[in-house]
C-alpha cells in the first residue's frame, strides 16, 4: 500500500514491482536503524580520521608499533584460520560421516564459541595454557600462553565453528554415488578424497576460512588475557587502539581503527565474492 501510493517512474526502476506490501515501511525502518546504529557512528570515525590529514594518517600507518600490531593481528588470525580449516574440516567430516557414541553432543558443543562470552573463554584458556595450567604444564618448558602462540590458541577457539558450520552442510549434500563411482573406476580412498571430495568442498572451506579470519583479526576479549601483550611481539591491533586511547592519543586510535575498518570491509567483500562463486558452482550441479 505504501509503495503503491508513492510509485513513480523513478521508484519503478529502483525496485521491481511486487504485490507484496510493506516495502517502504520495512526498508525505511531498516535503513533508519542501520543509519543510527552503524552508519552515523562509523562515519563519525572516518570523519575524525579525515581530520588527521593524509600526513597524520600516514605517520600512524608507518609507525613500527602499528605495523607490528597489524602484522600480529593478521598473522595470528591467518595461522589460526589455517589450523581451523584443517581440524574444522576433519571435525565436520567425522560429524557427518561417522556414527559414534556422543556424536550429537560433540555436534552441539562445536557451537560453544558462538555462545560463550569471549572474556570467559579468555580467562579459561589463559588458566589452561599458562605454564602452570593443565595443558600448559604438559608442554613446558615450551611456552604457549603469553606468546603469539597463545593468541593463535584463542583465535582457534573463536574461529572453529565458522569453518565447521560452513563445511558441514555442504558435506551432508555430497553425493555418495560419485564417491562410489570413483571407487569403481579404480581410485583408492585417498585419491577419491583429494580429487573428488575436496574440490567440491573448496568454496565452503574458503568461506569458512575467510569468516574465521575476519572474526579473528578483530577479536579482543579472549586474546588480551592470554597474549602477554608485549609491544612489537604479542600486541594485537585492537589492543593498540585501546592503548592509544589510554594515552589520550585519539588520532592514533582512530587511524588504526580506520585501517582495520577498511580491511574488514575488504574481507566482507571477498567473502561475498566466494559465496557468489559458491552459489554459481552449486547452482549448476
Amino acid at each position: 500500500m505504501i509503495h503503491n501510493a508513492t510509485a513513480s517512474p523513478a521508484k519503478w526502476r529502483l525496485k521491481r514491482p511486487s504485490i507484496i506490501p510493506g516495502f517502504g515501511l520495512t526498508l525505511g525502518f531498516s535503513l533508519a536503524y542501520l543509519s543510527i546504529i552503524i552508519l552515523i557512528p562509523v562515519a563519525g570515525l572516518l570523519w575524525r580520521t579525515a581530520g588527521l590529514g593524509w600526513s597524520g594518517f600516514f605517520a600512524v600507518l608507518t609507525d613500527q608499533r602499528t605495523q607490528d600490531a597489524l602484522y600480529i593481528s593478521f598473522g595470528t588470525a591467518f595461522v589460526a584460520a589455517l589450523v581451523n580449516v584443517v581440524f574444522g574440516t576433519v571435525v565436520a567430516w567425522v560429524l557427518t560421516r561417522y556414527n559414534f557414541p556422543g556424536r550429537r553432543l560433540i555436534d552441539a558443543i562445536v557451537d560453544l564459541p558462538f555462545a560463550l562470552p569471549t572474556a570467559v573463554a579468555g580467562i579459561a584458556l589463559a588458566a589452561l595454557y599458562a605454564p602452570n595450567g593443565w595443558v600448559g604444564s604438559l608442554f613446558m618448558p615450551f611456552r604457549i600462553a603469553f606468546t603469539p602462540l597463545g593468541i593463535v590458541v584463542a583465535l582457534v577457539f573463536i574461529g572453529l565453528p565458522f569453518v565447521v558450520r560452513t563445511v558441514q552442510p555442504v558435506m551432508e549434500e555430497l553425493d555418495r554415488e560419485v564417491e562410489e563411482a570413483a571407487a569403481t573406476l579404480g581410485a583408492n580412498r585417498f585419491q577419491t578424497i583429494s580429487r573428488v571430495i575436496l574440490p567440491g568442498l573448496t568454496p565452503a572451506i574458503l568461506t569458512g576460512f575467510a569468516l574465521a579470519f575476519a572474526r579473528g583479526v578483530g577479536e579482543y576479549g579472549s586474546v588480551i588475557f592470554i597474549a602477554g601483550n608485549i609491544p612489537y611481539v604479542s600486541e594485537i591491533a585492537p589492543l593498540l587502539i585501546v592503548i592509544r586511547l589510554e594515552e589520550f592519543n585519539y588520532a592514533g586510535a582512530t587511524a588504526i581503527a580506520t585501517i582495520m575498518l577498511i580491511i574488514s570491509f575488504v574481507m566482507l567483500f571477498i567473502i561475498n565474492l566466494i559465496q557468489a562463486w559458491n552459489r554459481r558452482r552449486y547452482g549448476n550441479v
Binding site: L27, P41, V90, V94, T118, A119, I123, A182
Partner: protein, 292 residues
C-alpha cells in the same frame, strides 16, 4: 552393486564399502577430532566450573549474591532485554525488505548489515566514544540536555546493539529467500491484508530460524566484552556487566568469584546450545541451520 562387483573380483572379506575409509583411518580421524575438540572446547569449559567450585558451594553462592555481582547480573539482563528486541524488530524488517523484494543496492545493503560482524568490538565501542564523548560534536549538546550516553546504560546498550546487529537479520534473510514469495502472493490474492499475511503465513514459516537468531543474539548480547568495556566506565555496581565484572574480580585475585560469575555465563552458553540442539532435533537441521 559395488558389493556384487567385489565378490566377482573375489575381494576378500572383511567387507567394506569402497566409499568408506578403513576402520583404522576412521578411528584415527574420530580420535583426532575428539582430541582437538577436547583441548580447545571441552577443557576450557570444564576448567571454568572446576575453578568456580574450587572452594565449594558456599563460596560459589556467596560470590553470586554479593551485591556488585548481583548488580552486574541485573544490568546484563537489562541490556539484553533492550537490545535483543530492538535487533529482533530490525531483523524482521530487514529480512522482509531484502528477501521479498528485488531492488537496486540490495547486496550492498547486506554487506552493510554484515559489517558489525567483522568490525573489531573495540572499534564498535570507539565509534560511540568519538560520537558522544565530551570533545565530540554531540556530547556537549546532549550533556546540556541532561542526557548521558557514555559510561551509562544507554552507551552500553548502544554498543551491544551494534555488536549483535546482524544476528537475527542474517539468520532470517537466507531462510526467507529460500521460501520465496509464492505463499505470500497466494495469501494476498485471497484477500488477506499485509499484516495478516505476515502473521499467518510468513511468521509460522520462519519462527524456528527466528528463535535461533534470537538465541544467538541474546548469547552475544549478554557476553559482549570488548565493545562494552570501552564505553562502560567500570563503575562497580552501576555500569559493570557480567563479563566486565569477571575481569574486575580476576584483577582482584578473586579467582573463585571471577570463575563463579564466568560459570553463570558459561551456563547460559550451555542452555543456548541445548535449546538450539532441541530445535534441530524437533524440526530438522534445516530449520535451525548454521549462520551463513
Amino acid at each position: 552393486m559395488s558389493e556384487d562387483a567385489r565378490s566377482v573380483l573375489g575381494n576378500p572379506p572383511p567387507f567394506r564399502n569402497p566409499a568408506d575409509e578403513r576402520p583404522l583411518a576412521k578411528i584415527l580421524l574420530i580420535g583426532l577430532a575428539l582430541v582437538f575438540l577436547a583441548f580447545f572446547l571441552l577443557l576450557p569449559l570444564v576448567s571454568v566450573f572446576v575453578e568456580a567450585f574450587r572452594k565449594g558451594w558456599s563460596e560459589y553462592y556467596e560470590a553470586l549474591i554479593e551485591p556488585d555481582a548481583a548488580a552486574a547480573i541485573r544490568l546484563t539482563l537489562l541490556v539484553a532485554a533492550i537490545s535483543v528486541p530492538l535487533n529482533l524488530v530490525f531483523g524482521l524488517c530487514a529480512s522482509w525488505a531484502i528477501a521479498k523484494f528485488e531492488f537496486k543496492g540490495k547486496s550492498f545493503l547486506i554487506t552493510l548489515i554484515d559489517l558489525p560482524f567483522s568490525i573489531s568490538p573495540v572499534i564498535s565501542g570507539l565509534v560511540y566514544v568519538l560520537l558522544f564523548g565530551s570533545n565530540s560534536l554531540l556530547g556537549p549538546i546532549l550533556k546540556s540536555q541532561g542526557i548521558t550516553i557514555l559510561f551509562a546504560v544507554p552507551g552500553i546498550v548502544l554498543a551491544t546493539v551494534f555488536v549483535t546487529f546482524p544476528f537475527v537479520a542474517r539468520e532470517l534473510i537466507p531462510l526467507m529467500e529460500d521460501q520465496g514469495t509464492g505463499d505470500e502472493e497466494a495469501a494476498l490474492s485471497l484477500g488477506a491484508s499485509g499484516w495478516q499475511t505476515f502473521w499467518y503465513v510468513t511468521l509460522p514459516n520462519i519462527k524456528w530460524g527466528l528463535l535461533y537468531g534470537v538465541l544467538l543474539c541474546n548469547a552475544r548480547a549478554m557476553g559482549e566484552f570488548g565493545a562494552v568495556s570501552v564505553v562502560s566506565g567500570h563503575i562497580r555496581g552501576l555500569t559493570n556487566t557480567m563479563p566486565l565484572h569477571v575481569e574486575i574480580l580476576y584483577n582482584e585475585y578473586n579467582f573463585v568469584a571471577a570463575f563463579a560469575v564466568a560459570s553463570l555465563l558459561a551456563l547460559l552458553a550451555l542452555v543456548t546450545l541445548a535449546l538450539k540442539t532441541l530445535l534441530e532435533l524437533r524440526f530438522g537441521a534445516g530449520a535451525a541451520g548454521g549462520r551463513h
